[in-house]
Symmetry: C2
Subunit: 388 residues, 2 copies
C-alpha cells in the first residue's frame, strides 16, 4: 500500500505551467497574456486578445487583418448545424446542450483543416451557434452574419437581428475580453486532459463545453440578478437580505473560491454595465443593483465575519448581459463563446508539453473469489444486504 | 512562490477511490467490479457486467431482464443521428469522430430521461452508431437492430448484416468484457472531470470519446497486427524483428506503462481469438501471430534487458477483432463501445463525491506594464524576436 493520500479535487496540485493567465486571489489581480486585466479588457479588440493568447504576441495591423478574414470565413453556419439546432430547439434543449451539439457537427462541411483554421472555425461558429439558437428558441428565423461587424458586435446582431450601437458592441467586447481566460478551471482542465492524448481541438472544446454546463463550474451567472429583481426597491434591500442570511441562504453573486478580495473582473464589468443603463427606468435598476451590492457586502461582513466575501464576476456579468438584453438562459453560453478562446490557447500549450494526463485511482472494492450463478443471486443479494 | 513542483502528467497523484477496478501491474492482475478479469471476461454476459459496474451487484434474473429491455429500447437510431452519420460518411470522417458526432445528437429524440435511462441510451446507441457507420462508410444501407440478439451479437449483426455464430458472438462479448474498465486512463479521467461539475452523462461521455481518439491514449490497437502482416512467414519473423529493433523502431503491441509482467487481458483475448481461426489459412495466420509474439518477446528481452516488455492488450485485441472481420479503423471505436460502460460507472462514482476537480497552474509568462499601440507593434515584435 502507498502512503499517498487521495486528492479527489486535485486541490493544490499544479498541473500546468502557463503563459496565459496569472490569478492573484490575495491581491485581487489578474494578468491575461502578460497584461493586466484592466488593460486587456478595455484597450483591445476581442480579436486582438484572441491572437495574443493563441500566438503569444499582440498582432500587427496586417496580422490582425489576416486573422480577421479567417475568422469571418467561418461565421456562416452550414446547413447541417442549422438542422440539428432546429431539432434541439423543437425539443427545448438547454442552450449549453445546443452549443455542444452544434459544435460537434460544426466542421462537417470542411475537409481536413489545419489547426489555425480549425481554431478560427470553432471560435466563429461557437458565437454563431449560440446567437442562432437564441433566434430559433424564440421562433425567429436565423440572421445571416454581417462581415462589416466585429466578432462581439456580430454576435449581438445575429442573436437579436438588431444592429448594435457602439455602446452595446463595446459592452459585449469588454465582457468577452474579461472572461476569456482564467487558469485551470474545470472546463479548461477537461480540454487539456482531452488534447493531451493528441486528440483534436474540436474534441477538446466539445468536452470543455460539457464541463462548463455543470452548475458547480461557477460560470453560470444566471441566478445572480434574481435577488435584485426579488428585492425590487432600495428600502427593501436590508430586510430582504437579512431574511435570506437568517434563513442560511447563500447570496448568489458574492464570494469566490480563489479571490479573497474583490474579483478584479467585477470593476471592469461594472463600468461596462453602467454605460448600458442610461435612461430613467434602466438607470433606476442599475442604482438598485448597486444598492443591493453595498448592502449585501455590509451584511455579509456582519453575518460572516472574517470570510471577506466580495462581489464576484457573476454579479456584474448578470448586470452587463441583462443590459445587453440577453435572457439569463443565455448567460452561460455567452460565457462559453468567450472562454472557448482560452480553451484553445490552453490546448496549444498542453500539446507543446507532449504529456498525457493520467492520475491514479485507489481500489476500495471487494476481492471476491467466485461469481455466483445467476439463479442463486437474489438469495445472495439479500444476505449481503443483511450484512450491511 | 510555492515549493510545490509542477506535475503535468499527474504522475502518482491519486485522484479517485474506486470500486470499479484494481490494477496490479507488478503481479499482472486485474480485478473488475470485485471479481478477477478471468472470471468476468468469460463467465458473464456483457449486460450482466455492465449492471455490476453501474449498480454495484450482479443482477438477479428479473433485474437482468428489466435491464435488457431498457437497453433494447434504445438500439434503433433516430433519424437525426442517421442524418449526421450520413454527412460524416460523405466527408470520410474518422470513425471516432463519427461516434462523437452521433452521440452528441443521440438523445435529441427524447424528452428528459432519468440517469438510468440515459445511461442505457448511451450504451445502446454507441454500439448502433459505430455499427451503422461501418455500413455507411462502405456504401451499405444501415441494418435494423435485432432484439433477439445480445448487445455483443447485435453489434456484430448491425455492422455486417450477417447474423453472428455462437463463436463470433462469444468472441465479441469476451472482448467487450475484457476492456470495459481499466482505472483512471485519460478518457475515464476526462469523463470524471466533466461530470464533477454536475454536468450530464452525455456531456461526460462525449468528452471521453474525444480523449479516447488521441493516439497517446493507448486504446488504439490498429497498428499492432500490421507487423504480423508485414512479416508474412514464420521464418521471416526473427530477421524482420531484429531489423526493426536495430533501426530503433518500437514494436507495436508490446509493453505497457502499468503492467511490468504480462497484461492479464492478453491471455483472455488470446483464448477468445484462437476460437475464431479454425480453418486452414485462418489457422496459419493465427499460428504466425503466435510465432511473431514469441520471437518478439525473446528479442525484446535480448535488446532491452531489464525492461520486461510483454505482449499487451493491443496485440490480442487486434488478433481477436481481425478474426471478427472488423477493419482496423474500427478497432478503436469498438474499444469505445465497451469502455463507455466504464465511463458511465465512473461518472456515478464521481458524482457521489460531490467534488469539483480543479488543479492549479503556475504562471510563467511576462508581466508587462502597458499595451503597445497596434501601429508600433511590428517594430516591437522584431525587437522581441531579436532578444530571443
Amino acid at each position: 500500500m502507498t502512503a499517498t493520500a487521495t486528492n479527489i479535487g486535485l486541490d493544490g496540485v499544479i498541473a500546468a505551467e502557463t503563459k496565459l493567465s496569472a490569478i492573484d486571489g490575495e491581491q485581487g489581480q489578474l494578468i491575461i497574456g502578460g497584461y493586466s486585466l484592466e488593460q486587456v479588457a478595455t484597450q483591445l479588440q476581442f480579436e486582438e486578445l484572441v491572437y495574443l493568447l493563441w500566438y503569444g504576441t499582440l498582432p500587427t495591423v496586417p496580422q490582425l487583418k489576416a486573422f480577421d478574414i479567417m475568422l469571418k470565413r467561418f461565421r456562416q453556419l452550414p446547413d447541417n448545424v442549422l438542422d440539428v439546432l432546429r431539432v434541439a430547439a423543437r425539443q427545448q434543449k438547454q442552450p449549453m446542450d445546443a452549443l455542444r451539439i452544434g459544435l460537434s457537427v460544426a466542421d462537417l462541411d470542411q475537409q481536413e483543416l489545419d489547426s489555425n483554421a480549425l481554431s478560427c472555425l470553432i471560435l466563429s461558429r461557437s458565437a454563431s451557434i449560440v446567437a442562432t439558437y437564441q433566434r430559433l428558441l424564440s421562433g425567429d428565423p436565423p440572421v445571416a452574419p454581417d462581415d462589416s461587424l466585429s466578432h462581439a458586435a456580430n454576435y449581438l446582431y445575429m442573436g437579436s437581428g438588431v444592429r448594435p450601437t457602439q455602446t452595446t458592441a463595446k459592452g459585449m467586447e469588454t465582457y468577452l475580453n474579461t472572461v476569456i481566460e482564467h487558469g485551470l478551471n474545470a472546463s479548461t482542465f477537461a480540454a487539456r486532459v482531452i488534447i493531451a492524448t493528441q486528440s483534436d481541438l474540436l474534441s477538446a472544446v466539445v468536452g470543455a463545453v460539457g464541463a462548463l454546463k455543470g452548475p458547480l463550474h461557477g460560470g453560470a451567472p444566471g441566478p445572480a440578478l434574481e435577488m435584485v429583481f426579488e428585492i425590487g426597491s432600495a428600502e427593501n434591500a436590508e430586510p430582504a437580505i437579512r431574511a435570506k442570511l437568517n434563513a442560511g441562504e447563500r447570496l448568489m453573486g458574492f464570494g469566490h473560491r480563489v479571490y479573497k478580495v474583490r474579483d478584479p473582473r467585477a470593476d471592469v464589468l461594472a463600468a461596462a454595465a453602467e454605460a448600458l443603463y442610461v435612461n430613467g427606468q434602466q438607470r433606476a435598476f442599475y442604482e438598485l443593483a448597486k444598492t443591493v451590492e453595498t448592502v449585501a457586502i455590509d451584511l455579509l461582513a456582519e453575518y460572516k465575519p472574517g470570510r471577506r466575501l466580495q462581489t464576484n464576476v457573476e454579479f456584474y456579468t448578470a448586470l452587463l448581459l441583462h443590459g445587453l438584453q440577453l435572457d439569463p438562459t443565455f448567460f452561460a453560453p455567452t460565457f462559453a463563446i468567450a472562454r472557448v478562446a482560452g480553451w484553445i490557447a490552453h490546448c496549444y500549450e498542453q500539446s507543446k508539453t507532449g504529456r498525457l494526463i493520467r492520475p491514479k485511482s485507489r481500489y476500495v472494492g471487494e476481492r471476491n473469489t467466485s461469481i455466483a450463478p445467476i439463479a442463486l443471486r437474489s438469495h445472495l443479494n439479500l444476505l449481503s444486504a443483511e450484512r450491511n
